[in-house]
Symmetry: C2
Subunit: 716 residues, 2 copies
């Protein structure tokens, strides 16, 4: 790739980016789009929309950028929850570390690369980008200590910054635990694998077991009912209807489409009283058939619930399996009914499917990469030479198309990974999203980073992949040879990604955004000392993304559930992986360039980095897995002293309502209420976060009236 191709790509991207920002600045002022761009705000205070035709509406203004910039961590935490804060801190961390890296590499490494070999530098647009990379440094050059020093500086600043971020986020997580006083999930344990008995219903079994073994702390329990079959019918019916009548609102289906007066029809229970009536109706011999072998058990104190959730209960570890329950709106009800004894098979199958999926994606990715190496393709297929003669086409193809293909393909990944995570049997929505996040991250690191690198070197010379198989110890060497030559491709990739415009989604798509940011940071790390030119566009990307994401979190997305900062574990691991990979690649490059000093100094650096990682795992990680007993006991005591316990018990035992959303029963058709509509849409939200549905209003929530507000908003 040559300099002018990069500049063309950069020009297009900057133009697209400025246009997007201006367009957004105007569109966000249009009253008709308020519900799209201010979902988060609307949910708290309905905005007034007077004076609809003033001039100001059509002038782009940067006020929203300033607002997003000025928001404090506390505000972020209050609006978006701890996960949003973690995302925000990840961006801040990336900006900080790559600023340091950019300063070090641009002023120390880049000149050494550029003047590494005695070539006449033309500085014309036609000059190849390769001369800015470490490839240009002579073998056995004495100046490689500078690269090694840069590596040391980057590693040390990463570890220092990461340590303080980890400490800060751990303290924020503890604050989050301490502050969520009325969180019912701390009092609740989800029991699965309730043993089946001929004589007694599951509900009686649960009551008996917990009154027997947890007599002093057991409060009450709530059995989980099977509603999956009915739910599935609704979802399927909606899908069929959509296919038949595209363009219409899916919610009208049940009224007119399939069930209008027919025998197989649905009745939606809209109010709590109806649900209770329905439950009483079921309260015959049929009730037992609807019970799952799972229950929510409520305890008198948070500490008692924590204790009950740990360890094994029964001599048969497949029975009475306990976990701390997710928060009420975080519950993924349909997965809870999956028999616990089948869960491990599901997990294995999904693991295999994920691996297969990741492997299958190698094919289109290598085709993409092939387009970048246009000149090499022309050598292989001479008939292409005619079509690709024009300079403009070549620049367009080499600078732009590979990224487009790559991004188009990558759009398929999140829904599929989300589906996998759903089938895996996660009990919470946040857990499902986190699992999808990890899968997508693996996918991206493997397919975008490694496969690009390796397939790139395939076209460079088919011997490279052969050599990879030949000896594993050559791997860093291979990567070291391949990364600098592919760095130019990645620079374009970074530029393209600046255009960030997935507005209008309901919950923040952490499962796609974390992997995206972490992948770019992986690219930044690995290329930093090898091809420092990647750092300025990367920093620009991170700055823009910082503003855009903050604005999105503050104004657009609604926080329905959160993991309580558990995404940081992923961020930390991915960052450590990036750093160590960078060091290994550097080790290989130093070896190739025959610099024994640099090689010798890199090995202890790798060891120290791994030790630092292990230290963080020991020091901070357990807080993200378990809630500390001390904190919960203190919270319990405070509540007891304040006499709040009675009130909390009432809240807790009524917080989990499985049927409010999904209570469907066969019967006479009634009009679908907005509640149901929301449910159907929500089912898809998580699967396809990029889908924009203007007919749907994001809702707010407070402790009690979780979904009711969502029902009322559209009528305003």
């Amino acid at each position: 790739m040559i300099l002018s191709a990069l500049l063309t790509s950069a020009g297009i991207n900057t133009a697209v980016c400025v246009a997007c920002f201006s367009l957004y600045s105007v569109l966000r002022k249009q009253p008709s789009l308020l519900n799209v761009y201010f979902g988060q705000k609307l949910s708290h205070v309905p905005l007034k929309c007077n004076d609809p035709f003033c001039f100001e509406r059509f002038v782009p203004s940067p006020s929203w950028i300033l607002k997003a910039w000025e928001t404090s961590d506390e505000e972020m935490n209050a609006v978006g929850g701890l996960d949003a804060l973690v995302f925000d801190r990840t961006m801040v961390f990336s900006i900080r570390i790559f600023s340091i890296a950019a300063i070090v590499c641009l002023f120390l490494v880049l000149p050494l690369n550029y003047f590494g070999q005695e070539v006449k530098h033309t500085l014309t647009p036609g000059e190849s980008l390769e001369i800015f990379t470490i490839e240009n440094v002579k073998e056995g050059s004495k100046w490689l200590w500078a690269h090694c020093l840069a590596l040391y500086i980057i590693t040390c600043s990463t570890c220092t910054l990461l340590y303080f971020e980890y400490k800060y986020i751990t303290s924020m997580r503890l604050a989050y635990i301490r502050s969520s006083i009325s969180n019912p999930s701390y009092f609740t344990v989800l029991v699965r694998g309730v043993p089946w008995s001929e004589e007694e219903a599951y509900s009686e079994m649960v009551a008996k077991f917990f009154t027997n073994y947890y007599a002093s702390s057991y409060l009450s329990h709530q059995i989980v009912y099977r509603s999956g079959v009915v739910q599935k019918l609704v979802t399927d019916a909606e899908k069929v209807y959509r296919m038949l009548k595209p363009g219409q609102n899916g919610s009208s289906l049940l009224r007119c489409g399939i069930c209008g007066g027919k025998s197989a029809s649905f009745k939606i229970l809209s109010s709590d009283t109806e649900v209770d009536k329905e439950r009483r109706d079921l309260n015959g011999p049929n009730l037992r058939d609807q019970e799952c072998a799972a229950a929510l058990v409520f305890f008198r104190t948070r500490y008692a619930a924590l204790v009950a959730s740990q360890g094994i209960k029964s001599p048969n570890p497949m029975l009475w399996v306990t976990d701390l329950a997710p928060e009420p709106r975080d519950m993924y009800w349909s997965n809870i009914c999956v028999p616990y004894r089948l869960l491990w098979i599901r997990k294995i199958i999904i693991l295999m499917a994920s691996i297969f999926f990741v492997a299958f994606f190698l094919v289109p990715v290598s085709l993409t990469q092939g387009l970048v190496h246009l000149d090499k393709l022309q050598h292989t297929f001479p008939f292409l030479r005619g079509a690709l003669k024009r300079k403009f086409i070549i620049q367009l193809v080499t600078g732009y198309l590979p990224s487009v293909v790559l991004i188009l393909f990558s759009y398929m990944v999140p829904p599929i990974m989300m589906l996998f995570s759903t089938m895996e049997g996660s009990i919470s929505r946040s857990g499902r999203k986190k699992s999808a996040c990890i899968k997508i991250l693996y996918f991206m690191v493997w397919n975008v980073f490694f496969a690009q690198t390796i397939s790139g070197s395939v076209i460079d010379g088919w011997s490279a992949i052969d050599q990879l198989g030949k000896n594993l110890k050559d791997f860093p060497n291979l990567l070291a040879r391949a990364v600098p030559s592919t760095a130019t491709f990645f620079i374009t990739f970074v530029l393209w990604n600046k255009d960030e415009s997935t507005y209008g989604t309901m919950t923040f798509p952490y499962h796609t955004e974390f992997p995206r940011v972490l992948l770019l940071s992986l690219l930044g790390y690995t290329c930093s000392i090898l091809a420092p030119l990647i750092l300025p566009p990367l920093l620009v990307y991170f700055f823009l993304a910082y503003i855009v994401y903050r604005n999105q979190i503050l104004n657009v997305y609604v926080t329905k559930y959160q993991t309580g900062g558990r995404y940081w574990i992923i961020v930390h691991k991915a960052t450590m992986f990036s750093v160590v990979l960078t060091q290994i690649i550097a080790l290989g490059v130093f070896g190739l360039k025959k610099s024994t000093v640099a090689t010798g100094f890199t090995i202890p650096l790798i060891i120290c980095t791994l030790l630092f990682n292990e230290y963080c795992r020991q020091r901070f990680h357990p807080v993200f897995r378990n809630n500390p007993a001390q904190v919960l006991v203190e919270m319990d005591r405070m509540d007891e002293q304040n006499g709040r316990m009675k009130e909390i018990y009432q809240k807790v035992t009524s917080a989990y309502c499985q049927f409010r959303r999904t209570s469907l029963t066969l019967g006479n058709p009634v009009p679908l209420n907005p509640n149901e509509k929301n449910m159907l849409q929500e089912l898809e939200d998580d699967v396809n976060p990029a889908a924009l549905r203007p007919d749907q209003l994001p809702g707010s929530w407070n402790e009690h009236t979780q979904l009711e507000i969502e029902e009322e908003l559209p009528n305003k």
Copy 2:
């Protein structure tokens, strides 16, 4: 290797074996050796030794074999504990599975191998052993379905037997938990990482923390004191003395050697009253300096202790780290004082050291293997041809020497691995032994099995190792080619190992014996369908070992501590590994022999085996990690109903006595008492289990007077 060499080896081994058994039968009747051969018995009932010169004493008799054979599982469990039972069941399992394998392979597979190619069979002693292996089957042979069928039969019977064994041992473990009513460790939690404070001693910190957060269940606590420095002085002094005066009893050292009347001398506190006095003496400002940041905390119920041992206590996970305490005589006191925050570094260093050690051993092992391939060595080094011309020498060298060298080298491994496990920081002796067992198993599987196989093929043709590096998918193929050719070596190895004569050790050396048995079973599995001739000698080995080990457990070894059956996890994993490795090797062989049917049928078999393994892990494994809450609650209730609790509390709080064994202080020299002698010897017991010390009597123990009996026995 040729048939006659194998027969020579078999002949020598049989003779050695018969001689050993006869010698043992006579020696065990000699009164002077009673304490060597009947340590276990002696500890319960002192045997009478009248009529010292009857004729019967000098006639070998098989009565002990019968006795060992007839002992029931319950007796084994009562005498040797659950670990002995697990070892016994491992032998039974091995005998069963290899009987099945032998029947299937000798009658189905062996004839097919033998008549696989149209060669004139001579059946003379000079015939090569290779014609009995799968190497002799023609490429593309239709008879390979028989090998595949044999593989199916072996896998299915393994899984079935393993499932029932696992179930049985799990039930025995539950029975063990239920039966150990007065086990103080269930009431005790070991706390490490007590935070340091300027104002308060560790003891006060512990009392404050547990009265605050565990007020209802906290009983008392006992701080752990630092005694390591004094202990180390004693051990070092003893070592110096041994070097100076070999042949003398090490225990006389302190009386006469270094400390006789000098200023740097030792005083041994022999009685409890003296210890208490000593403690009171220390009770000044010095006491605090001697405290470790660790304590034993006693709880009112077993369940409360279990609860306190789970999860994290403090927001800083490096503080207040809790584990269920080991049994009093299982405590490894000196490791408990290691600061918890340094433990992870130790573990990492030991892990690295172990890996390095395993890698370093490859060199002598490949030299050993080189001797087996004598004819090939002769080609490489022609000057050897003269010395190795005689047939007898060749047979001796190829049949015997490799095993001797291998076994001599392997004697160095257990002490080193035990040292590693000690430095790792295990809090219990049983845990240390189990950790050493795992290390030795890895060592053996890698060095004896894989390295032998691979270095064998190096001498067969240097291209093989090159090929291994070249492509990982070739690995099964390589192994498949190498294993049959090395099987003849392993057959000799099995024959040699029949001679089992490590009598006289104190505690059963599970850490060396489990890996030995599991390695042989790995050889049995991998060679079963490839070279079925290995199975008869292997079966003979297992039968003899079964008798010998049972006799040893019943008569010789003393059970001082146990893991409660946790060794079974190792056995299960190793067996599953063996089975899957066998399947992968078979897959490679079928591929090489171009049998698509057999290859196609082997792949689902591997998947099913892995699924079975995962099922067992889900179903049984948690019971070996955690004690089920239900069981402990029931035990607590029973005790409360019987009014035994007060009595138990007294027992529990006085059970852990750190200073009874090791309370040494600088002062006037007094004669060393037997207690101290035992301590010194015990320190070495675990490190060098094969060392035979006739001057030392194994002791017995019951609930109360743990070590007192050991002190009294020598005076009898």
